[in-house]
Every structure is written in C-alpha cells, then in structure tokens.
C-alpha cells in the first residue's frame, strides 16, 4: 500500500519535471553564431526605456558631436559648428546624405525632434550616462531648424563649452519615428550607425547586422556581443575561442590580461581611460583637516608600486585630479617622498598615532585589486602614524558612510561625466560643490571658486585651458582628493580577429572593421 502510493507520487513528480523541462527547452531559441563573437561584462543593450537604448560601443546610433583620439570634440553627424560672440547661440551644420535605419533622412527636423525628446525624458537614468538636459544643455531656450541641414541652439546664458558637453551620449540621434509618446523607444533603435540591432536577448547577447545604406565606412561583418559577467569566465571563453574579443570597461582584470599574453594567439591593446582612482579624505575633523597630514598621506604612497606591482603596468601614475583622458588634463608630478611625509606627519601628530576608518565599496572588487591596494596603503600609512582600519562596504552603505562623514579615508574610482571638466570641478573643488560638501572633503579656496565659475563663460579656449590648469594645481595642493593613478582600458582579442582596435581616448573600438580571419 505504502510502496504503491510512494511509487505513484514519485512518478507524478518526475513526470511533471520532465514535461516542464520539455516545455521550457522548446521555448528557447538557440543562440545564433556569427562571424564576430565578442563579449562584455554587462548587457550593452539596456532597452527601450533607456535614453540611448544601446551603448555607443555598438555603433547603432551616432551623436552630433563625437571625440577624437585625443579626447577633443570632433564632427560626427554635425560636420561643423560655430557660436555667436556671446556664446548664447550655437549653429550646427549637419551631414548630408545620412539615413536612419528606417531609411528616413537625417535632417534638421529630425534633430529638432530629438531635442524635443530630450526635454521629455530628462532626467533619464541609464547604466552608461544618465541624461540630464540641464547639465548638457544648461539654459536651453530653443532649437530651430534654420534650413534642411542647419540647426540653431539658443541659450539663456553663454555656454562656452557646448561641444564638449555634447560629445557622444550628450547628442545621440534617432529617427523621430522611433519614439513613444513619453519619449522613449517604440522598438529597436533606429539610429544612423554602421550597425543595426536585429536581435537582443536580455542579459544573454545581442546581434548586430551591417547597415547597407550607411553614409560612411560600412561595417564588414555581423557581430554578436555576449554578456559574460565574470572576468574569469570571459578569460576562459577567449581561450576556448567561444569569443574572440572583449569590450567595455573592466573587460579583463590586469592579472588575467598578463596571463592571456602568455598565449601567443592573443593580443592585448590598451587605451587611456576616463576612469581614475582617488583617495578622498574627510577634511572636517582633526588631524585630517590639517593639509600637512593630507599631504603626508599623498607623499607616502608610491604610485609606481601600485601600478607596476598590483596592476602589472596597466595604469598610469596620476598627479592631477583630472583624468589623463581629459583634453584639459595637466600632467602634474605625483611626488613620492617618504622622508618628507614622515616629517610633515610628525609636525601634526608629534609622537601620537591616530586611527582612521579606511573604506571602499565592494563593487570595485569585481574590476580592480582594491583589497591589495588598500592593504598596501594601510601598510605605508603606519609609517606616518596612521593606523587605518580597512572596511569593505556594500555600495549603498559606502555612499551613506561618505555622506554621513563616518570615515577618514575612502578609496573610489571616478569617471568623467563629459569632456568638459567644469562639471567635475564644480562637484569636488568648488567650496559649495555637491561632492565637496556631501563627502565632507572641506576644500575651500576662493581663487579656485572664481576660476571655475569664470571658465563657464570663457569663450577663448586658451584662456579656459589656463584656468583649468590653475584649478588643477590649487586642487592638488589641497590634498583633499588625492589622485593615485589613471586606469587604462584593456582590449584583449584573438589574432584571428582582424580590424579590432582601441581608439585612443575615445572609449571605443573599431567594431565596424572587425572580421574573423
């Protein structure tokens, strides 16, 4: 009786499982293979409710203004631009003969429609760059189609650095037929790029096909970009030739890149990154409110050791608070002087030792050897009388600790929100800047404040460059935000993958030239 009931139950359970298995398996399409298979750690296609739908790396859409390999604004869908003397009116001349993926023409009306969309969706969140119209186009009054291929932007106040703000994500263009009433997308993105998005499985892969009517250099091969979150798995997939290249930030950790180079089938290219690593010092309480101690912290750290030993040379020592990928970066020296550091620390602390809560966010561990990095810094800080207590905090907790000022030293990376550095100076250097106040950095410098505000209106590029140079010097001398080193983007790929190269400071690859030999 009992056995027969049990048999009945077990049979039912297994039958249900097998049937469900069958149903689930039938519902899944097999991943299609393509000529070029590459991968990234995240889905580069966030989808229809993202302001851009895809990352710029996929070359599905194009902006009005892009950046050249040195980081300066360069023509894309706008071939040239000029401004009025007061910097309030900007005129953009558009590229002719360009078609969107739905074969409608790209013209001034399309640009106006895109700006109307910007107004609707802003502020819009994105895993790449949140779209905020008041920061990209501060005080925008109107957008006028002057003729079929000329657009005029009128502002309430002078916007001296507009092309810098518009670079890439700041001026993405899509077919006006691509928008829902709320401004987001009604289907796959219809850009003007060399690739069309033809298939997307969330968190699995996307498939790109060359757009035959592309106005410029046409894409060579279809591409499949897979999502492989774990760096070790991407490494294994490269070795097994399941993929032939890796893109996006954090493509491969430095140690894995070194390991990959032992295999002669692979090449690793590097490009300057907009991401740099910093120490943030809570300057609101003794003894860290003393600039001499903050300077001592900076001087005791051997940045070359970090770059060469922990990042295997995949990095660039940084002395300025502005990333070396910025065209306004000034290469200030990153001084390493332990004796001077000890002297300065003694001046502040005497024979005392102080404790410091040294925090960093856990998400950084997925991309960088932050544990080893903090342990190295902890060890050298001992030499100047600081006993750092390292704490790895989950992202939200890290943010909360910084805002509450419940830390002495914090380590974090920082990217550039645009090619125009005024934004980042405004946050961290301006006396009442959001980051400066929120994170309790307590940097106060009247000269820096004046320069940052004046640079916003300065139309002369050379003068603006000089202003930013001085701001970088002043900020460096405050040691409230200590630069450590600049990241480099690592681009590993198989030698069979031809035409696949890094593009300098553009955070981009020549995907459209890529093909498998």
């Amino acid at each position: 009786m009992f056995v027969s009931r049990l048999r009945h139950v077990m049979f039912s359970v297994f039958f249900v499982f097998f049937m469900a298995l069958l149903v689930v398996q039938c519902g899944m399409a097999a991943e299609q293979r393509s000529d070029v298979l590459i991968a990234g750690h995240r889905d580069l296609v966030p989808g229809e409710n993202d302001p851009y739908y895809t990352s710029t790396l996929l070359h599905v859409w194009e902006p009005l203004v892009t950046r050249d390999e040195e980081g300066w604004p360069a023509p894309a869908l706008a071939t040239s631009w000029e401004t009025s003397e007061d910097g309030r009116v900007w005129t953009f001349h558009l590229r002719q003969g360009v078609l969107f993926h739905d074969l409608t023409p790209f013209d001034a009306q399309a640009v106006v429609a895109n700006f109307e969309r910007y107004q609707k969706i802003s502020p819009a969140n994105s895993p790449f760059y949140p779209f905020r119209i008041h920061e990209t186009y501060p005080g925008l009054k109107e957008v006028v189609a002057v003729d079929e291929y000329t657009v005029r932007l009128v502002f309430e106040e002078p916007v001296a650095a507009l092309p810098f703000l518009m670079v890439n994500f700041g001026s993405a263009m899509f077919s006006p037929s691509n928008f829902r009433d709320d401004g987001f997308f009604n289907g796959f993105p219809l850009g003007t790029g060399p690739y069309r998005l033809v298939e997307h499985r969330k968190d699995q892969y996307c498939r790109l096909e060359p757009f035959e009517q592309y106005w410029g250099e046409k894409a060579v091969s279809p591409v499949v970009v897979r999502v492989i979150p774990q760096a070790e798995t991407r490494f294994a997939a490269l070795k097994t030739e399941e993929i032939f290249g890796v893109i996006d930030i954090g493509s491969l950790t430095p140690n894995l890149a070194m390991e990959l180079l032992k295999d002669e089938r692979f090449v690793v290219e590097v490009a300057p990154s907009t991401i740099a690593h910093y120490l943030f010092i809570n300057g609101t309480r003794f003894p860290f409110n003393d600039v001499r101690l903050r300077k001592a912290i900076s001087l005791i750290i051997d940045r070359n050791f970090i770059v060469n030993e922990l990042y295997y040379g995949y990095g660039e020592v940084l002395g300025s608070i502005l990333s070396s990928a910025s065209p306004f970066h000034v290469p200030l020296p990153a001084e390493y002087n332990p004796e001077e550091a000890k002297r300065l620390a003694r001046e502040v602390l005497g024979d005392r030792r102080v404790s410091a809560r040294f925090i960093f966010p856990s998400w950084s561990l997925q991309r960088y050897p932050y544990k080893e990095q903090t342990e190295y810094i902890q060890s050298v800080l001992k030499e100047i009388g600081i006993d750092a207590n390292i704490q790895i905090l989950e992202g939200g907790a890290f943010n909360e600790a910084m805002k509450a000022g419940e830390y002495e030293i914090a380590m974090r990376n920082q990217g550039l929100p645009s090619a125009e550095p005024n934004t980042i100076f405004t946050w961290y250097v301006l006396s009442n800047g959001a980051g400066n106040v929120e994170y309790h950095l307590n940097f106060q410098n009247a000269e820096a404040d004046e320069l940052i505000l004046a640079a916003r209106r300065e139309m002369d590029m050379e003068k603006r460059f000089d202003m930013y140079r001085r701001v970088q010097e002043l900020a460096r001398d405050g040691y409230h935000w200590i630069p450590l080193f600049n990241n480099v983007d690592i681009l590993p790929y198989h030698r069979r993958l031809k035409g696949f190269h890094a593009m300098g400071k553009r955070y981009d690859v020549t995907l459209w030239r890529a093909y498998l030999e």
């Binding site: 056995v3 298995l21 991943e31 969140n125 070790e232 920082q414």
Partner: protein, 313 residues
Amino acid sequence: MRRNFISRRVVQAGVVVLGVTLVAFGLQEVMPGDPVELLLQKEGLFHPTPEEIAVFRAQLGFDQPLPVRYVRWMQQVFRGDFGRSYVSRRPVIMEIRERLPATLLLSMVTLLFSLLVGLFGGVILAVYAGGVLDHLGRIFSFLLRSLPTFFLGTMLMVLFAERWRIFPTSGMGSWRHLVLPALVGGSGFSVVVMRLLRAHLLQALGSDYVLAARSRGLALVWVTLKRACANSFVTVLSLLGLYLGGIFGGAPIVETIFAWPGVGRLLITSISDRDFPVIQAFVLILGLAYVGFQALIDWFYFFLDPRVDSDGE
C-alpha cells in the same frame, strides 16, 4: 481530522505570507543607501541636484508615507502587478518572466542530477557501509560540501572547458551548456541527499522488518530498494520541499560564473542597484513558493502516511 489539518495549514500559510510581505516591503527602509540617489549617481559619476532627487522621489512614490506605500503595493500585488523596475522601467513581472524559464530549466536539471547522484550514492554507501567505498564516499562528499561554489565552478570550467574542451564555458543554448552549471549547482544538494539517505538506510536495514525479509532469503539489494529505501524517501521528500521552494530565486553564484541568464543574476544586480520593486517581488515569490511547496509536501506526507495526525505528527 483531515479538514483540521488542511485548515490549520492554510491559516499558518496566510500568516507567513503576510509576514513575508512586511519583510519584503520593509527592506527598503532598513537597507542602507537612498535608492533614488544611488540610481542617479551611477557609482559616483554624477551628483544629482536636490530638485532632481525630489522629481525622482516623487516619480518612484517615495514622497508618500511608508504605510500608504505598503497598502498601495499590496493592492498592486493582488492585481498581479509588482510595479516597474527602477532601473529598466519595465514591469517587474516581465523582467522575471523573461529569466524564469532559464532558471527553472537549470534548477530542474540540477535537481535531477542531485537526486540521481544522491539517491544512488546513498544506497551504495549504505549497502557498503564501513567498506572502502563508504570511506571514499565520505571523503568525496566532505570535499564537495566544503568547496566554495565559486572555486568548484572555476575549477570545473578550467578542466572541462578550457583544457579538455568538452563543455562550453558559459551561456545558454544546447544541453552541453547545462552540464557544468548543473554539476556545480547540484553538488551540495546531492551530498546532503546522499548522507541523509545513507544514515536512514542504515537505520532501516537494522530494523526488524528488514531482518525478517532477509531471513526469508530475500537478497540485500532487493530488500534495500524495495523496503528500506521506500521508508527513507519520506525524509528526502522533506528536503525536496526546501529545495523546490528555493528554485525561483535561482542560483546567483552559479548563474554569474557560467553567464546563465536566470533570475539569480537579476537579483544580485537588483540588490546592488537598490531596485526595490524587483527585490520585493523576489522576496514575495520566494516566500510564496516556500509556503506552497511546504504545503504540498505536507499534503504528500498525509497522502503517503495517513497516520500523520491533525497536529502534523
């Protein structure tokens, strides 16, 4: 008696589900970090203005008092609507539905693998208790149980994918993609089943009814399979209930290592992004699944052994 048993279980389940909804909703109050700011900051890349924060807060409904938000959320949930993801802005149910088939497929294969290895191994270890096989099995299961999933997954990937090229490293497509994730995901559960079954079988094999069967000349294997195993399956069944309850949560680590597009990965990213509608839906669905499967298992007990009385004993 049966009606008492069932009605008590229903009331208990209701209380548990209510508790789960409170926990699911309360998470956003106790987890550190403001979701609005985290969303707008993008790992410190931006510093939103107070106006932007206020707009987003209102858009996401955070400007309302907690009880009001809870009641609204419950009303939505009763309509089968878990709200929209803060990150993707898509309905949460769609986000989960897209990934659930992958998770269910992997969970079912993992379960089958675990049960096959666990049941077969448990019987073998019990039959050969004290022998070389038993000792080897103990060492093997000890190792398997103590190895972290991440380490085991990476090791298997290095050996079976990178070195021997037998299985793919990652992704989803053919049956071959399932093997390594199922092996890694099922290793822990199979060991538990194996050890539990062995212990129960040894107890059963020493009992009077088995001795009586053996004294009538029945073979040990037959007695083990026919009599002792049948009685031990009830224990395995209760383990099964716990396992089934958890499958809707996916296996975040396994899914991440093997780039398996399941709900586990979604849960991990949702937690770091403070995407509360997704987290709340997960907690609630998981809670309901546990309660549902536990009720089902209880019913199986009742069905298998009607001596289970109204106290559930």
